[in-house]
Amino acid sequence: MVSRPNIHVKSKVAVVGAGITLFRRRMLETPRELAWEAAKQALDSAGLTIRDIDCVVIGSAPDAFDGVHMKGEYLADGSGGLFKPTVRVYVGGGTGVFVPIAAWWHVASGLCRTVLAVAEEKMSPARPHPQGVFAYIWDPVLERPLGPNLLWIFALEMRRYMHKCNASKETIALVSVKNKRNALDHPAAQAAANITVEDVLNSEVLVWPVNRLDVSPVSDGAAALVLASENEARRITDSPVWIEGVGWTLDNTHWYNRELGYPRYVQYAARMAYKMAAIERPWRDIDFAEPYDPFDYKELHHIEGLMLARPCEAPKLLEEGWFDRSGELPTSPSGGLLGVGNPIAAAGLMKAAELFWQLRYEAGARQVKKPVHRGVAQAWGDLMQAGTVVVMGN
């Protein structure tokens, strides 16, 4: 039985090209140069020029990182957006997957035939450490007087997840081990490594239970996709990758008023995307996933939010190798944020790009073992509140 899509579209939408820069702690290029490098590469991979593009969608996270207070406008020329309908979208860490979602509705609505979708982040300019910039996402009245560090909120969530699901730090560290190992095969990777659980446990304790190697690094980088309507896509390529479903939701900013062990907002976003894609049993119908992994426990948390495992089941499946590249349901075959790096918006789009490469069997050494027909990418953001999900198929 196929459920009815919950949305009417004028055209199916395909991804026809993708590009990415290196992800590094600090780079010479300006944010707009990084955007240009990724955008140009995405166009080249589709065999298109900027003249073939109708509309441009740009994604970038807080202005305070790059230090330019109008990043959409600033990035417009490097993203190919001059004299075209151009928009910048932003939902915190969820931005990277929100970029293909926004690009999707540009095409699905019939408004644009081709869209260049670009995500860029340059975190390195912020001094002395980009952590300080996160101080300004907290509520000014209720939270900032306590002198919070962004890691607190993740540590609180991780601690709750560990308690609720009886998951140990050792088990959770396996995510970091897996993703950093997967990233050894990613040419953009910044934090690829062969490490052990002991390395994670022995790394610096930042906010217990979060150690240094439980967290993704600070990065600069950019990524881009080209999206096209069905007619255009079939002209451009023999192997378009279809966007089958998109979903996104926001919860409130009062993260201390809810159960932190399960991400409700991710589940709602996933349900929207699965409904559109006519997926009723995601744990069976999805072949591989790119869940958002800025922290190792987050991948497990998000696997459950995406309904790819039952609540609290992900740690056990992880131990069994279920999520390895050769496993039943490979997760973060790219290497994820933990391995490839975390230039915020670009990292999320890197995950969407991985769906494209995997579904075209172009992922090289990263190609998952099993045949793939359908993948899901997800990002999360803001104060434990944004969920963005995209499902693609070949």
Binding site: I20, L22, Q131, R160, V205, V207, W208, R258, E259
Partner: protein, 181 residues
């Protein structure tokens, strides 16, 4: 993926490389803000100054909000019925922070927690997902209590600053501390 042989664009710089660049620009933005706490939170902060924790109840769905909001997010209706909670509650989750806001190592670690407050008459409608609660510091517990998980579910209550030191801020509540049984 661009084939393995071709190097991806982007030029890595070490911190030293960066500092040696011609035309390096340094800039510190100057911005100062004065935030009003708004209708609901101003009264909440006033309550804290008096050593009381106030919330509001939605007349339609019965949800109790602590900290209070002037509207119910779910019914999209005005709240307005104020309730005082005892301040007692249980620890939902807690962690030990060794770093400051700007990621400097702290000499003395802090224990941070989310406290699920007991709210009389709270009709959560069986939905355990939401609860009246606060994000604050914990005192009177050890790092080990956090790491072993002893602290989760522990019954706690507010420790107030002396009245003359209170300024109408969340810091008027010094921390939550265990209720000795």
């Amino acid at each position: 993926m661009p084939d393995g042989g071709k190097k991806l664009p982007g030029t890595y710089l070490s911190d030293k490389d960066l500092r040696a660049l011609p035309g390096l620009v340094e800039h510190t933005p100057e911005a100062k803000y004065m935030f009003s706490a708004g209708q609901a939170q101003s009264r909440f902060l006033q309550g804290l100054r008096e050593g009381r924790i106030l919330g509001v109840r939605c007349p339609r769905c019965g949800r109790v909000y602590v900290p209070p909001r002037s509207y119910c997010e779910y019914c999209f209706a005005p709240t307005g019925e104020w309730v005082e909670v005892s301040g007692e509650g249980e620890v939902h989750t807690a962690v030990v922070s060794y770093i400051s806001t700007f990621r400097e190592r702290m000499e003395k670690p802090e224990i941070i927690a989310v406290v699920r407050l007991y709210a009389p008459g709270y009709s959560g409608k069986g939905d355990e997902y939401e609860f009246p609660g606060m994000f604050h510091k914990l005192c009177g517990v050890s790092e080990e209590d956090v790491m072993t998980g002893r602290v989760i579910g522990m019954k706690v209550r507010p420790r107030w600053r002396p009245p003359e030191e209170r300024i109408g801020s969340v810091t008027d509540l010094e921390c939550f501390e265990p209720v000795k049984s």
